[in-house]
Symmetry: C2
């Protein structure tokens, strides 16, 4: 009897946004491993064992899943969104690199809808042009690295998706990010706070960089920062669509960093 590990992205929350592949893998698993609130999203199946863990114990959770698979279980290790994007997949490979015996297991990562895809669709098309995704958590990287990436992305004209914008333990980072971005981008740059997209407590706030308030974000929020090219299109019922045109002008990047074509 040989075990397996499927690292599964559950998407933003609404079961209608799960892929058929992920739903089938959840159904086929003998053991579900994950952070408690994500396990609670998985349909109950008789005989299936559930192993809930705390949010902070990512490495221990990955190793738990790998040990169960090595013992012959069919394990589904679940993440919100896409497991490969600030989710559990990277942690699994860190654990395998530290214990290469696990590399022989039957392992696959099954993609899911990440927060930026779900939020982007609700807002319009903010990610219609070149974009980046940055986690504002400085638990695993120095703030100076995050700050440098925010500045580089703003100067180069990337739209930004800011994951993990703040938490009780990291209260000042989003405000510091807005301070940096206000030095680089016009005050009228569109910014969206997209919270709990597709879940019952979904909430969207669409403003301009000049008036963005970090207090509007929590751990369930993705913050979307437009580029100089991003636009708002009024909706007759109120509010606006936030989109970034496919076309970009040369003026959107500082000329000293531009290279020439051959």
């Amino acid at each position: 009897m040989s075990g397996s590990l499927r690292v599964i992205g559950l998407g933003p929350g609404d079961p209608a946004l799960l892929t058929a592949e992920a739903a089938a893998a959840l159904e086929a698993a003998s053991d579900l491993v994950g952070y408690g609130p994500y396990l609670a999203r998985c349909p109950e199946r008789p005989g299936q064992r559930r192993h809930a863990s705390d949010n902070r114990e990512e490495r221990a959770r990955a190793e738990h899943g790998l040990r169960l698979a090595a013992a012959g279980h069919r394990v589904a290790l679940v993440s919100g969104g896409d497991a490969g994007i600030f989710g559990m997949a990277s942690t699994v490979f860190e654990a395998i690199e530290a214990n290469p015996a696990w590399a022989a297991l039957d392992i696959a990562v099954l993609p899911g809808l990440t927060a930026l895809a779900a939020a982007g669709a609700r807002l319009g098309a903010p990610f219609g042009h070149d974009f980046c995704a940055i986690s504002l958590s400085d638990n695993l990287k120095p703030w100076a690295v995050i700050a440098a990436r925010l500045v580089a992305a703003a100067r180069a004209g990337f739209v930004m998706a800011l994951y993990n914008p703040l938490s009780r333990a990291r209260p000042w980072q989003l405000g510091a990010a807005f301070d940096l971005l206000r030095r680089e981008l016009p005050g009228e740059t569109p910014i969206a706070f997209a919270r709990a997209i597709s879940r019952p407590d979904e909430e969207i706030r669409l403003v301009r960089l000049a008036e963005a308030d970090p207090a509007w974000a929590d751990m369930a929020t993705l913050v979307v920062v437009g580029s100089r090219e991003s636009r708002l299109v009024a909706r007759p019922a109120g509010g606006a669509w936030f989109y970034t045109p496919r076309r970009a002008e040369s003026g959107s990047v500082p000329s000293e960093s531009a290279a020439s074509p051959p």
Copy 2:
């Protein structure tokens, strides 16, 4: 009778990677509008009308969908991957901005799995840390903008997903991108050519930046460029997992661009 427009991402190709929401919207549509090969992926339903267009006619295709919706049809406008990421959604809002009467229509964007999510899962977890997505097509932006973004992303430590790497009309851009990246990143940086992920002709080639050959890419390929932190973990059956650890060191960005925490 009021019409509607649903802008739908079909995902990378395998129907098992479609969301239930997108499948239901395709089923409910009276009219499907899209590039021929994408329409061919949608299940046939009696009575449903299909409007195929050429790949280059994006704006005309968006306007066709909007006109049909304005005439009372339930229109599904389809894109490969995620319609909001280098897909049709941005074009729809460009068309609405030019003709605000269309803003009154019932419009929604339904997210799909974009190429970087599908390719990332197959490869391991290359996008486990901060990343960016850049279209190498210079049809709608100057090459100097693209070049500046490649350099900025490499210097700031972003993993990169390169969309639209080359075509018959744009044969030199990917080679020029590799030349720029080789000046910024170590030759051993992992690079993946992920072609037609989840489709019958799927093909993956995993190499190092020093040996990357643009001839390995075509229009169906996503090119994934690691950061200095990205790693390969050998798989006993051959090949390797490509992943980027969650942790980053301060050395991954040039110090002159780093700002200080408060």
